[in-house]
Subunit: 280 residues, 2 copies
C-alpha cells in the first residue's frame, strides 16, 4: 500500500491519494496546512486535511470562478477576491487587460507564503502590480468597505466550516451587495450539487438575503468530494449567461484548458435534481 | 471507523464508502459480485470490487446512455443492449413507446439474478414483454448477427479489463457497425475524461475502426472514479446533438432526474482538455 493521504467527508465517504512525499506540514493561527506530492495529481494543498487544490486539476476551479463573471460583467475594472490566497483566481483575472485593480483579502498569510513556494505558477500572481494583498478577515473587510465601490467580488472560500464559516452568512452577502456598484456581480463557490439538501438550501437562502438575482453553474473537479462542484453568481439585475462578452473571452480563451465558447454557456445547464434544489 | 468498502484505481487513488452491511457476496463464472449497503449512496453493486451502480446516482448513467441515442435516432424500434444486466438501461428504454423490441445480451446470469433481487426497480425491467434476455458473450452475439438488422446498439459495459475487455476492441465495433441499419446509432460508455491519454486514445481509435462519425458527451457521476464520465455515440452519418427529437423527449422527460432540454445538448459541450483527447 505505501503512504496514502485520505480525506473523509461526513464520516460516509473517503478519497485517498497515494503519496510520494509530504513536502510541508505546519499549523497556522487558523488551520493546519500541508503540501503533499501525489502520484495521481502531483502536488496537493491540504487545509485542515481537506484538498484545496491540486496541480493537475486546479485549472477547472480557477477558470470557471474568474472568466465567467468577468465575461458576464459590463465593464469590470475593480475586483475584490475574498479568500483565494493560493493566487489561482488572481492568475486568471490578470489575463484580462480590462481589470485594473485586484484586492485579495486572505485571512491566513501562511496560505499565500506556502503557495508562492510550492505552487509558484499560482502564487506569483499575487506579486503583480495590479494586485494588493490584504491579510485579514474577509467578513470585516467587506463590512467596512464603502457602498458601490467594486465591480466584481469573488468569494473563493473554503468549506462552510472552520475559518471560512463567516463567508456563508447572510450578513456577509449583504455587505458584498452593498460594496458592489449597481451593475456589479458576485460569485461564490457553493459546494457540490450532490451535497445534502440542507447545506444547499442554506447557501441558496443566505445568498438570496443579499441579492435578488442568482444563477448557479457547475463543473467537474475530480479531487473535490463527489466530483462535481457548483458556483453561484448573484447580482441586483437579472443574469443572462448567453450574453457573455465574446470579444473579452476571445482575448483569453487560447490559453484555457477547461472553458471554451460552448462551455461558457453550457455550465449553466443544470441537471433536474440540482435545479430543483436551487430554485425551490 | 467501522466497516468501509474501498475501491482502488490504478494503485493511485481510492474511493471509500462507509458500509452498514454486506447483503450479498459470491463468485460467478466471470467475476466476484457483491451488494453492500452504504451510508452515503444506499445499496451498491460491486463487480470485481469496482462500483457498478448505486441506488442514489444510477439515474445519471442510465438516463444519459439511453435517452440521448433514442432521441437522436430517426425512428428507433429495435434495440440491442450489450451488457447492462442490472436492467437500468432497459428500464429507461422502455419509457419510449416507439421502441418495440429490446434484446439484452449479458454474459453473466448472476448479474441479472442479483439485480432482480436487490435492485428490483432496475431488474424487473428485464421481465417486460418487449424485452428478450440472452445470456452469452456480447462479442459473439454481435458477430453472428445479420447485417443491417438493428436501429440502436447500446454498449453498457464494465471497464476494459476483465469480462468487458472484448467490448473495447476494433473487431467488436466493426460487428456493431455491420449489424446496424444505415441510419443506426451506437453508444458506448467510454471511461472518464480524466483517465489516462493512452486509454482514451485506445477507445477513440477502436470506435473509429467501425464508424466514420463519432460524438462524445459527458455527465457527472459521484461514485465513478474521478467523478465525470463519458459516452461515445457513433454512426455512419454525422450526428447533430441540437437536432434531437423534441416530441419524443417530451413524452419521457417529466420523470427524469438528470436530463432536461438544456442538458440534452449541453452534455455534448466538452472541456478543452477532453476535446483535445477525442479529436486529435
Amino acid at each position: 500500500m505505501g503512504l496514502w493521504f485520505t480525506e473523509i467527508e461526513d464520516n460516509e465517504i473517503s478519497y485517498g491519494y497515494k503519496t510520494k512525499d509530504v513536502l510541508f506540514s505546519s499549523r497556522s493561527e487558523f488551520q493546519t496546512i500541508k503540501i503533499i506530492d501525489t502520484l495521481a495529481y502531483g502536488k496537493v494543498m491540504l487545509l485542515d486535511d481537506l484538498v484545496m487544490l491540486t496541480e493537475s486539476d486546479e485549472f477547472v476551479y480557477h477558470e470557471v470562478i474568474s472568466h465567467i463573471p468577468v465575461c458576464l460583467h459590463k465593464s469590470p475594472e475593480k475586483v475584490v477576491v475574498i479568500g483565494g490566497g493560493d493566487g489561482g483566481t488572481v492568475r486568471e483575472l490578470l489575463k484580462h487587460q480590462c481589470i485594473k485593480d485586484i484586492t485579495l483579502c486572505e485571512i491566513d498569510k501562511m496560505v499565500t507564503d506556502v503557495s508562492k513556494e510550492f505552487f509558484p505558477s499560482l502564487g506569483k500572481a499575487l506579486e503583480d502590480d495590479r494586485v494588493t494583498v490584504k491579510i485579514g478577515d474577509g467578513v470585516a473587510y467587506m463590512k467596512d468597505m464603502g457602498a458601490g465601490e467594486v465591480d466584481l467580488v469573488i468569494v473563493d472560500s473554503t468549506d462552510p466550516i472552520g475559518p471560512g464559516e463567516g463567508l456563508f452568512c447572510k450578513e456577509f452577502y449583504r455587505s458584498v451587495a452593498s460594496a458592489l456598484k449597481d451593475d456589479g456581480l458576485m460569485v461564490c463557490q457553493s459546494e457540490s450539487p450532490w451535497h445534502s439538501t440542507a447545506m444547499l438550501h442554506r447557501i441558496r437562502d443566505n445568498v438570496a438575503a443579499g441579492f435578488e438575482h442568482r444563477k448557479s453553474y457547475i463543473a467537474g473537479i475530480p479531487t473535490y468530494p463527489r466530483g462535481t462542484w457548483s458556483w453561484t453568481l448573484a447580482a441586483k439585475n437579472p443574469i443572462f449567461p448567453e450574453e457573455y462578452n465574446r470579444s473579452r473571452f476571445d482575448q483569453v480563451k487560447a490559453g484555457l484548458k477547461y472553458l471554451n465558447d460552448g462551455m461558457m454557456v453550457s455550465v449553466f445547464s443544470l441537471p433536474n435534481f440540482y435545479q430543483d434544489q436551487v430554485s425551490q
